[in-house]
Amino acid sequence: MPKSSFYEEEVYPSPMRQTWNEFQRNHIALGGLWCLVFFLLTSLVGPMLLPYGPLQQNTDALLLAPAWAANGDIEHLFGTDALGRDILTRVAHGCRITFGVSFILVILSMLVGCSIGAYAGMSRGIRSSVINHLLDAIMAIPTLLIAIIIVAILGTGLMNAMWAISLALIPQFIHQTRDIVRREFHKEYVTAARLDGAGNNRILFHSILPNMIEMLVVQGTMALSVAILDVSALGFLSLGAQSPSPELGAMLSDSLETAYVAPWSIALPGAAIFLMVLSINLVGDGLRTALKNRLTQ
C-alpha cells in the first residue's frame, strides 16, 4: 500500500520481515505454503461442509468409482469404498486426524526437547557429556524405528502411537537447541547482557530465545513432515490408528483389500499424505533458504 510521505525515510524491516521477504521470492515455496493452507482449511472446515459422516455406510453404493469415471456418481465425488463410505469425506477427516495429530506431536516434543536442550546447553561437565553421548547414539536411530519399538512396548493404538512418535522426535529438538544455545552463549551480545548483570535464565529467555525462534520453526516443519509420515506409517501397519478410523495410513491399509477392484481407494489417501508432506517440505526448504540468505547478506 503506497503511503504518501514527504520525507524519504529509510525503513529497516525486522528480521522476521526480512525472512518473509526472502521467502516470498521463492515461488515454489510460496506455492507450497498455499497448498499447506489449503490442507489446513480442509482439516479445519472440510468435514463440516461434507454431507456424509466418515463411518456412514451406504450399501447401495459399494465400491463406486470416482465421479469422472464412466460408472461414477456425482453424489460421491471421489467414489466409495468397500462399505460404501464416501472417500472424499474420509480423506477430509483423515487429513484432520493425521495433520492435527502430527501438529500436536511436534509442538509437544518441541516444548520438551527445547527445555532439555537449553538445560543441556547451559550445563557443563560430566552431565553434559553424558547427555551428549547418549544423544549421539539415539539420534542415529530413525524416529520410525524408535516409534515402532515404543509401540511394541506400549501396545497398539493411536494414543500410544502419539506417545511413541513424540518421544522419538524429542532428541532432535534437544540436539538442535543445545547446539544453538551453546553457540550463542559465546557471542558478544550475550556477554554484554551478562555484564549488565543478567542471570542465565534471563539471558536464555530474553537474549537467546528470540534468536532461536526461526531455527525452531524450520526444525519444526521438518519434524512435522517426519511426524506425518510416521503417524501414517504406523496407521498403515495397524500399529497406530485402528481400522474404522479414517486416519490416512489406516485407510490405506483398509483399502488394500480392494486394491485391484478399486484403485482409487488407494490413490486418494496416499496422494493426500504425499501432497501434505510435499507442501510442508517445500515450505521448510523455502524457510531455510530464506534464513540462510538473510544471515549471509
Binding site: 450399501t59 459399494l62 465400491l63 468397500a82 488394500l256 483389500e257 480392494t258 486394491a259 485391484y260 477392484v261
Partner: protein, 538 residues
C-alpha cells in the same frame, strides 16, 4: 511419473527381465502352487472339521476306503475295491486293494503294504477310548462324535489281511457316505507302532504318513506347506512333481498373486473380485452348485411363529428371485427344499410356495395377526457361501414384509454371541444356512430339523415333529435310493405344509485358477484334490 523412478528402473530391468524368455519352463512346470486361506490345525482330518485342514490333508496325503465321485457325488471304490452290505443292513464287508503303498519319507520307511490292520487302527483310534492313540493330540474327533458313531459301530473285525467287517448296532444307510467323507482317512498302523516305540506318538498328526497321491515334505506355519509326489500311488502317480500350499490369508493378496502368476490356483475368491477374474483372459473362474442351503428359519417355539399359517404367510410374502439377484449376484439357484439339485435325493416335484402378498395377508388375517405387527429378523454377521450378505438380505425381506403390514427389525450380534443367543432360542426368525459334509441327504434332513438336533443346536427352527423324525429314520433303514426317496418325499410334504423354515438358495462354489490348469474339479463338498491336475506350458 518421476524421473528417478525411471532411472532406477532402467538400471534394474536388464537384470530382472533380460532373460525372462529363457526361463526354464521345465522347472516351472514341475510344481503347482495353491494359495490357501490359512494354516491347518493338524494334518489329521479325523481331529478337525475345518475346511482348511481338509484341504491340506484329506485328499493330498490320505485316502479313504470309499470316495465320492466329484461329478455324480456317487460313492465309488477307493482303498476298498468292493463292499457288501448284509440284508439286515448291519454288517458291512469291505474288500481292500492289495497294491497300496504308504509314503516313504525321511521320517518313516514302510516295510509292508496297506492292509486290514491299518483299517482297524484308523477306525479304532476314534472309536475306542481305550485305544492307545485315542488320547493323542487332544483325543476329540468332532465329526464322528457329532454323528454318534462311537456308539453306532458295534465292532470292526479283520477277516483276513485284505478283508474287513464292520458291524453296526442299527441300520444306517448313510454309513457308506460317512466312510467316504474327508474325515474317514486311513492312517498307517506300522508308523504308529514305530512312533509309540520311539515315545513320540504326537508326530503321527504333525508328520503325517498316508497312502495319498502326495507325501508331506515340510510345513511352516502361516507360510507354506510343501508336498512331493508319491511315486507309487495306487491310482497312478500325481501329474505334478511338487505341490505347494502358499498360505495367504488376505483374499485380495491371493487374487494379486494369481494375476502375477505366483499362484496357479487360489482358495475362496471374494464375491467382489469374481468379476475381475472373469474379465481377465489369463484367468478362469469356474462355478458349480454346492451342496449347501441358505434359509430363513422361524423360531417355532415362540408365538405367533408356532402357527403354521403365519409361517406360510411369511414365506409367501417374500420374492426369492430378487434375493437371489441382489445378494448372490446370480451365483446361486433358488431352493425348493433342503436338498440341492446336485443330490440324487433332489425332489423335482416338491411343492413350492410362490410369491403372493395378497394370499399372505389373508393368511395373516386368519391367524389374527394385525397390520403393524412387529418381529425380529436375525442376520448372521459373517459371510458364508450359502449367504454372502445376510444383512442385505434381511433389509430386502424387511421391505417385503412391510408390504403385508409387518414391521421387521434387523438384529445382529458378533458371531460367537449370535450363535450362543440363537442356541438359547432368543430369536423370532434367523437368516442362516448349512453346508453338507457328505453327499447323503440325511446330512441335510437330520441336523437341520430333527428333534434330536434341537439339543445339538443345529435345528434353528426348534421344530420337532415325530412323524418327520420317523420318516427320516425309516429312510436310513434302506440302501435303495428309490425307497429312500419315497420317504424323503413324504418328509418334504410335511415341510412344505408346516414351513418351519423357508429355503432360499443353494449357492455355487467358485474356483479361480490360471488358464492352462486342467483337471481341477470342484467338489461340491469336502477338500480340494490336486492329484490329476495338469499345468500346461504357456
Amino acid at each position: 511419473m518421476n524421473k528417478l523412478h525411471w532411472l532406477g528402473l532402467a538400471m534394474l530391468v536388464p537384470l530382472g527381465t533380460g532373460c525372462q524368455d529363457l526361463q526354464d519352463r521345465t522347472v516351472q512346470r514341475q510344481g503347482l502352487i495353491y494359495c490357501s486361506e490359512g494354516s491347518p490345525v493338524t494334518f489329521n482330518p479325523q481331529l478337525d472339521i475345518s475346511g482348511t485342514t481338509a484341504d491340506a490333508a484329506a485328499h493330498q496325503i490320505y485316502d479313504r476306503l470309499l470316495e465320492f465321485d466329484s461329478q455324480t457325488s456317487k460313492i465309488v471304490p477307493a482303498l476298498a475295491s468292493s463292499w457288501l452290505v448284509s440284508d439286515d443292513g448291519l454288517t458291512y464287508t469291505l474288500q481292500l486293494r492289495k497294491d497300496v503303498t504308504f509314503h516313504s519319507t525321511e521320517y518313516f520307511q514302510p516295510t509292508r503294504l496297506f492292509n486290514a490292520d491299518d483299517v482297524l487302527f484308523s477306525i479304532n483310534r476314534w472309536r475306542l477310548s481305550t485305544h492307545p492313540f485315542h488320547a493323542v493330540s487332544g483325543g476329540t474327533y468332532p465329526y464322528f462324535e457329532s454323528l454318534g458313531l462311537q456308539e453306532m459301530v458295534e465292532e470292526v473285525n479283520r477277516i483276513n489281511g485284505y478283508r474287513v467287517e464292520i458291524k453296526l448296532k442299527k441300520p444306517d444307510s448313510s454309513f457308506l457316505a460317512t466312510l467316504a467323507t474327508d474325515f474317514s482317512v486311513m492312517l498307517s498302523q506300522e508308523y504308529a507302532d514305530q512312533l509309540m516305540a520311539a515315545g513320540d506318538p504326537d508326530s503321527i498328526d504333525t508328520l503325517p504318513i498316508g497312502t495319498g497321491p502326495f507325501k508331506f515334505e515340510r510345513f511352516r506355519k502361516n507360510n507354506y506347506i510343501r508336498y512331493q509326489r508319491h511315486p507309487d500311488y495306487w491310482d497312478g502317480p500325481a501329474h505334478q512333481k511338487h505341490l505347494i500350499f502358499d498360505i495367504t490369508p488376505s483374499s485380495s493378496m491371493r487374487l494379486a498373486k494369481l494375476i502375477t502368476g505366483e499362484c496357479d490356483v487360489i482358495a475362496f475368491p471374494a464375491q467382489t473380485e469374481l468379476k475381475v477374474v472373469e474379465e481377465r483372459p489369463d484367468l478362469v473362474l469356474e462355478e458349480k452348485p454346492g451342496l449347501n442351503v441358505g434359509f430363513w428359519a422361524f423360531n417355532t417355539n415362540k408365538p405367533p411363529f408356532d402357527d403354521e399359517r403365519v409361517r406360510r404367510a411369511l414365506a409367501m410374502a417374500i420374492d426369492k428371485n430378487t434375493l437371489l439377484d441382489a445378494v448372490y449376484f446370480d451365483s446361486a439357484v433358488a431352493a425348493k427344499g433342503l436338498i440341492p439339485p446336485t443330490s440324487w435325493a433332489y425332489d423335482e416335484s416338491q411343492k413350492e410356495v410362490h410369491y403372493n402378498p395378497v394370499m399372505a395377508r389373508q393368511l395373516l388375517d386368519e391367524a389374527n395377526i394385525p397390520a403393524g405387527f412387529s418381529m425380529d429378523i436375525w442376520a448372521m454377521p459373517v459371510e458364508r457361501a450359502y449367504n454372502p450378505n445376510a444383512t442385505k438380505m434381511a433389509e430386502l425381506i424387511q421391505s417385503y414384509l412391510q408390504r403385508v403390514g409387518i414391521r421387521a427389525n434387523i438384529v445382529s450380534y458378533e458371531w460367537a454371541t449370535f450363535r450362543r443367543l440363537l442356541r438359547q432360542g432368543m430369536h423370532d426368525s434367523v437368516l442362516i444356512g448349512w453346508s453338507a459334509d457328505n453327499a447323503d441327504p440325511d446330512n441335510f434332513y437330520r441336523p437341520l430339523l430333527s428333534c434330536s438336533a434341537i439339543a445339538s443346536g443345529t435345528n434353528r427352527a426348534g421344530w420337532c415333529n415325530p412323524a418327520y423324525d420317523d420318516l427320516i429314520d425309516e429312510a436310513l433303514r434302506y440302501t435303495e435310493e428309490e425307497i429312500r426317496q419315497y420317504y424323503y418325499q413324504q418328509a418334504n410334504d410335511i415341510l412344505s405344509a408346516q414351513m418351519p423354515l423357508v429355503p432360499i438358495a443353494h449357492a455355487y462354489r467358485f474356483q479361480a485358477y490360471r488358464r492352462g490348469i486342467t483337471g481341477l474339479e470342484i467338489n461340491p463338498f469336502g477338500g480340494i484334490r490336486f492329484a490329476k491336475v495338469d499345468k500346461a506350458m504357456q
